[in-house]
Symmetry: C2
Subunit: 243 residues, 2 copies
């Protein structure tokens, strides 16, 4: 099916026609377009222009705008495979490991702004497209496993509190690393500070790491309010509610 010209090497000058290169250019342009404008805001004419190919070529290789979007979406999530460097963290001492995991999550979001944009965009669309993907889901399994392992080892050696749900912890780590970036435009304006400046990012990174570690290392028994000693009971007395 693929029609790569002169694949066996030989002449050096690139051929006029090159399906692989064209597809790559389309995907690259599409990624930028979807990331900056969202699915509904994206224009396939603009993608064609930016890729330097005829619009029809897009339909030649991808059957529709939505199909192309899905390809981009899967690509971005799969780049998170890099996340699987979590594995390297499993053998570190729990505190060090957790610290590295949080910092790495933070750094990854900073380094891949496209991931954050597309995650937001997908959620605006109620995850309609992501749900069609087969691969993405499985990427999270090793990550959760790493978290569980670290958590258990930390609890065993007495440095982490008990009764921490790994999914909740993952949600919190992501939340802390994600929100200030995903919402940086409204927040920067509201608080009169560039949340994505290197200095501010370094500060925030330290804060986020401290927050997670501070929580995990805090003594839950001492911290719990007068009545609550078991967390996570499904309907707490709710002393803190205002109304």
């Amino acid at each position: 099916m693929e029609h790569s010209p002169r694949p066996q090497g030989g002449s050096r000058h690139k051929p006029v026609r090159n399906s692989e290169a064209s597809q790559a250019k389309i995907l690259e342009a599409a990624r930028a377009e979807f990331v900056t404008h969202g699915l509904t805001g994206a224009r396939v004419d603009r993608i064609a222009d930016q890729a330097g190919v005829n619009k029809n070529l897009i339909y030649h290789y991808f059957k529709s705008k939505e199909e192309l979007y899905l390809r981009i979406l899967e690509g971005i999530y799969s780049d998170m495979r890099e996340h699987q460097r979590d594995l390297e963290v499993r053998d570190l001492p729990p505190i060090e490991g957790m610290r590295a995991l949080v910092a790495h999550t933070f750094d990854h979001f900073v380094a891949t702004p496209e991931l954050i944009r597309l995650m937001s965009i997908e959620n605006i669309h109620y995850a309609h497209y992501l749900k069609q993907s087969k691969v993405v889901k499985s990427l999270y399994i090793p990550l959760l496993q790493t978290l569980k392992t670290l958590l258990a080892r930390g609890q065993q050696e007495g440095s982490f509190r008990a009764n921490v749900d790994p999914v909740d912890l993952y949600l919190s780590i992501s939340a802390l690393a994600y929100f200030h970036l995903s919402n940086r435009y409204t927040l920067s304006w509201i608080f009169n500070q560039k949340l994505d400046s290197p200095k501010r990012l370094a500060e925030r990174r330290a804060h986020v790491v401290e927050m997670v570690l501070g929580y995990l290392q805090g003594d839950s028994a001492a911290l719990a309010g007068s009545k609550q000693t078991t967390r996570r009971s499904s309907r707490p007395k709710d002393r803190s509610r205002l109304e």
Copy 2:
């Protein structure tokens, strides 16, 4: 300018023409439309249909789709004026006050899903429209002030750690209360659990409150790594970085 018919009471049956009611119907329909479809996905024909008015009436009262969107945006943010119940929290003991503040932020996000959607949508649009608003920014000043007050009082009585930036703390509280909701569609699918079920929300609420309080009450000196004793220095040694 306003042309409200029979404003002085009198006959009970509603008049055929009623500008205030029409505008209200338009705004209500527009809110639903923008919240579910975003700015680019929204259709003014659909808004007109849903409001039960002629499309041109929308242009009679609001000069464009974007203008209407801005109105909705401001309305949603202004409903956060309710947030100013933070003030009631200022006089509580610091721990109780902070607990209530976090819980209230969480509850507010749960109760106002439209706020989260529009915040995400605005950030997809780089806060282009919010920046045109004059009112929104000022809503955050008292909130930050409350945070500062609580923080200072807690530090003074020795129950909160030192060196906590109020903006960072606000970002973290919001992040923890926002992320699992804003991204509930992708996350629910990935983790095979309905993140917005009442049970799960109650659990998450407890976790979030615990996380913030646990962090604040943790002893920063004891928690800090071997070298770092002053947090928030603008370029920490970064022992936790992986690469």
